[in-house]
Amino acid sequence: MRFISLFILGLQEVYAHWFRSILTMLGIILGVASVVAMSAIVEGLEKGMRDNIIIYGGLNKVLIHDSDPPDYQNHIADTSPGKTLNDVYALKRGATLLSHVSPEMGHRARITYQRRSCYPSEFIGAWPVVLQMNRHTLKYGRFFNELDERGAKPVCVIGSHIRDRLFGDPESTDQEINPVGKIIHINRQPFTVIGMFIEYMTDAEQKRRELERQNHKDRTGPRRNARYRFRRDGFYHKNNVVYIPINTMWMRFKVSSGTDDTPEPNLTDIDIKVAELTHMEKALDQARNILLHTHNGVEDFEFSTYASRIASAEERIKNANLIGLIISALSLFVGGIGVMNIMLASINERIREIGTFKALGANDFSIFIQIMMESSSLAILGGLLGLPTSFGTIWLLTQLIPQQNVPIITWEALFIGLTFSILTGIIAGLFPAYKASRLNPIEALRYE
């Protein structure tokens, strides 16, 4: 009962100086908004990373990376031939627990068509199995097959962004261009486009485009003066690829790089897919044994599984989260100092009032509670106002910097923001409230 009355008394004090109170609350409001916004951005990043890993192959995809051999193998390290197609054949033959093995031979590339050119994210020589390995779907044409592979044919399959850049995108030309049959130049060598993948896009992107289409229903013909902007969402790299048969890659682009007369056979990547997720450990042991054979016993490779990639991503996210939290907690701290500052000023100009309270029978504790109620009502109001502000902040951020990872506001972040703002207010009120409660009533009454 008494607490409620004292709380109302505190609110009245806050209301009496509403402008000052709003300025004070602003510190708390922005503090809460930054805590929530920061955690929402990190949450968005985290989801983006998870999605990314699934986009590029799924849970059972394992990458084989180069790694430094252990120290005790340094003297034989040179005897290992590295990752070659021999590994791939050996794995295909021997590793019964794997469903797919896909070699990849990458190269730097500049692609030109007439006067336009672009650089793909990935220019890879691969086997047809890469289609399943990297979860690609064709929109036009076909993928290359065994015959193209054996004949090392100059054919390529491109992602939709490559089409957009070389031939024009549907949004600015107002028509879907089918690139199949066109001849493009990759590092000055002519290749025939035989297929194109569908355009991969996020749900949010899809919605945005539908909205745009509805808004410009009456528009006819191509959009003039429209500059094509690439969305750097999670699918950017997946849309920006060029695949050619691995033998074509080997014959045409690796010829001059070998150390003897044969072109350099080294692969940039071997991707494998485990048939059963439950047998992941066994499958990797099997693959390791086979690769140790082909690498002359040198363990110069390592497996990167979904779990290990998630773990390393999570480690990075955790660090980002911690740094973000510290920075946003700092702004909340500044807000708290603002509250304390105002409370100290406020009790200094109300010494006579506090003396009156004491003369009317307020004991030290009542005064303490009364002042605490003022500071915590500032903090609670500030915290509550901070929640809608955080939504506004995030909306503003996404408008200013459209990015691939849409921030996600979680209940936990809202709860933590609110709790910390209230805690800040309580802590900021402690010292002024103590100071006020210890005032000598006689001196306080006499204070001019």
């Binding site: 008494r2 009355s5 029978g361 307020a362």
Partner: protein, 251 residues
Amino acid sequence: MPLLELRDIHKTYHLGGETIRALDGVSLDIDSGEFISIIGPSGSGKSTLMHILGCLDTPTSGTINLDGMMIHDASARQLASIRNKKIGFVFQFFNLLPKLTVRQNVELPMIYSGLSSKERRERAMDSLRSVNMEDRSKHRPSQLSGGQQQRAAIARALVNDPRIIFADEPTGNLDSNTGELILGMFDKLHQEGRTVMLVTHDPEIASVTPRRIEIRDGKIANEIDPKLGGEAPKFEEIKAKQSQLTRNMTS
């Protein structure tokens, strides 16, 4: 058994290296229902006496018995509770809270005694009615005249039905007509059987009370008590004596 019983009260302050005897052996009995004034020039110790009587301060030595309770060595918390329940204060500058309405100001002491809001409202309105201020209950102090503010302050002092009311220069900030009105109000309270103590430097104001105690240099210099017999001296005489004294001091 008197309501308030002071025995050999001393109060000393240390200011710098100097020891100041604000009260130097004051003994005093106040019965229930008395109307008393304490007079004395500034620095005489009358304020200190009122603070000690009003439980705002504790004496250095001596005993005080208020309504059967020994309060000279009570804790701050106990003193606050006694102030809340047994003592009403009226100040020279009214000391109303500017942000609260008159009714909320009157409710303040009851918040500290923990009454429900309904009961607080009823009692505050009763108290305001007794000083003819019920139609101003929703006003802020700044919207009232000085006399109205002081009446509101009296309503606040009365609201917890205290055993004794202390008024520290209650007319010091009012014009003489309003001051008389306020003094009349204290007289009325006395007629209703309440114990009222005025603290003032002005003998004219003190003349409204039957019993007057003059404090000088921390001691009771002069006491006029109708119970002890003796005619109360005319205030013209007191005034003359005082002006004589000031003349002596200045010359």
